[in-house]
Amino acid sequence: MISRDDVAHVARLARLALTDAELERMREQLNAILAHIDALRAVDTTGVEPTSHAVPQFNVMRDDEPRPCFPPEDMLANAPDRAGDFFRVPRIIEE
């Protein structure tokens, strides 16, 4: 069972500001879902390799040649806040 503190910790990791009511509902629902998922632990997977992709493909390479990329104006068109050619965010480093 995961506790309310666990849920609050995961919410911080996931950058989700949840209300108290949401935290409680999330705790109940996650516990219900995890109870279902816990059945997996009983499956014998001794010696079984994990699958990360249905079609195994490794190291897809291309020539290292310059190619046109999107102009800054296109990339900034959806920015919630900008300053010139930059995305503006709240101050991260204290003065």
């Binding site: 990791l13 500001a17 249905a54 959806n78 709240p90």
Partner: protein, 481 residues
Amino acid sequence: MRTIHELTDAYRRGETTPSEATDAYLSRIAKLDDKVGAYLTVTADRAHAAARAADERYRRGRPLGPLDGAPITLKDVFCTRGVRTTCASKILESFVPPYDATVVDRLAKAGAVMLGKSNMDEFAMGSSTEHSALRVTRNPWDLTRVPGGSSGGPAAAVAAGLAAGGLGTDTGGSIRQPAAFCGVVGLKPTYGRVSRYGLVAFASSLDHPGPFGLDVTDTARLLGAIAGHDPMDATSIDAPVPDYTAGLEQGVRGLRLGVPDEYFTKGMDAEVEAAVRVAIDVLKGLGATLERVSLPATPHALATYYVIAPAEASSNLARYDGVKYGLRVPGRDLIDMESKTRAAGFGAEVKRRIMLGTYVLSAGYYDAYYGQAQKVRTLVRRDFDAAFARVDLIVAPTTPNVAFRHGEKADPIAMYLNDVFTIPADMSGVPGVSVPCGFTASGLPIGLQLIGRALDEATVLRAARAYERATDWHTRRPELA
């Protein structure tokens, strides 16, 4: 309501034009979509322009190919240059992509006319389209019921005659399940057969773009246009694309069909089971041989999916931080801004999956959940490998039940159980199609699922076409006044 092949035949004969057809669809959308709720954005001006260009090509006797002038809809998960792409989420409600997804570009180059962007569960997470933050979509066969999901918008649009075809995505069943619920054909191609470039990511190892059609021929035509290697998607398979329409009429004589014990479960709807068993007999009557097969890891597939898909989603959705695009809610510092933005921008189901995914990937739980799920995923794949050593196709129900009422599956796990028969093919990457195979006594469509070997969409479609030719379920249309 005409199929794409009927429309393009009529264009060639000069009986109608892409512009006339496009106008008719746009009028029908204006008249009926208040009831159905399939569309989030209608792109009438672009559609008119694309249709006029197609008119001209037919006038000169030089259409681009089998989709030229076909009016279609795209699930609002595909990036469309200059047309907002919302993923049915408040966090992307005003996002206007600077580029087209590869599949969008390929359809445009094939002459298809985009009518607009259709509804879905937010970020493709759901099985009813009820998790859309922007609109309610109703099943055209019964407006009190859901169209399925997550690609409920395109499925409902095609079923209601609000588009001649469409594209969706299938991560746990999100093309095949709404196709079954809405009585249309929906195909999930092999993983990597169709590029994911420009598709808003949900679970990258499981996301499959694919087509919806009124029949198998249209579905094959759409697949032919979107399939093929794309250097912009590193997981795209570099294999030749066959003409999927070429062998469609070859029938099923001599094909070996596997009937999996695990896809006929105690809790399933008796009418669904009966219809699917009759459909399997039809295929036998057409000359296919039947064989019982076992896919023993099936009962674990759902739990495996609900570890892997949320884990991948929690990583993919980390990009919605209020910085580069999408919603921003101001905060006292960067973390506060991100946390408030995501709290305001994501709906309940998306938050639930982000939380679940973050939890199963977090320190101390990774091996027990994520590592174990990846190993069980291998077992699910091995089941298909073993079955396809003996049979050419697997035949099964698409879903354990038919379309349910809005609000009926409020419990998350009840909702997840809808996908028990579709999730295994996503985890294995093998192709699967849902075709209409009957109706319940109350008039709700039932879907037959055909699953094939990796990259063998041609056999899947050929068997689906053989079934379709022997039955008339696919010709029935809902009555929408």
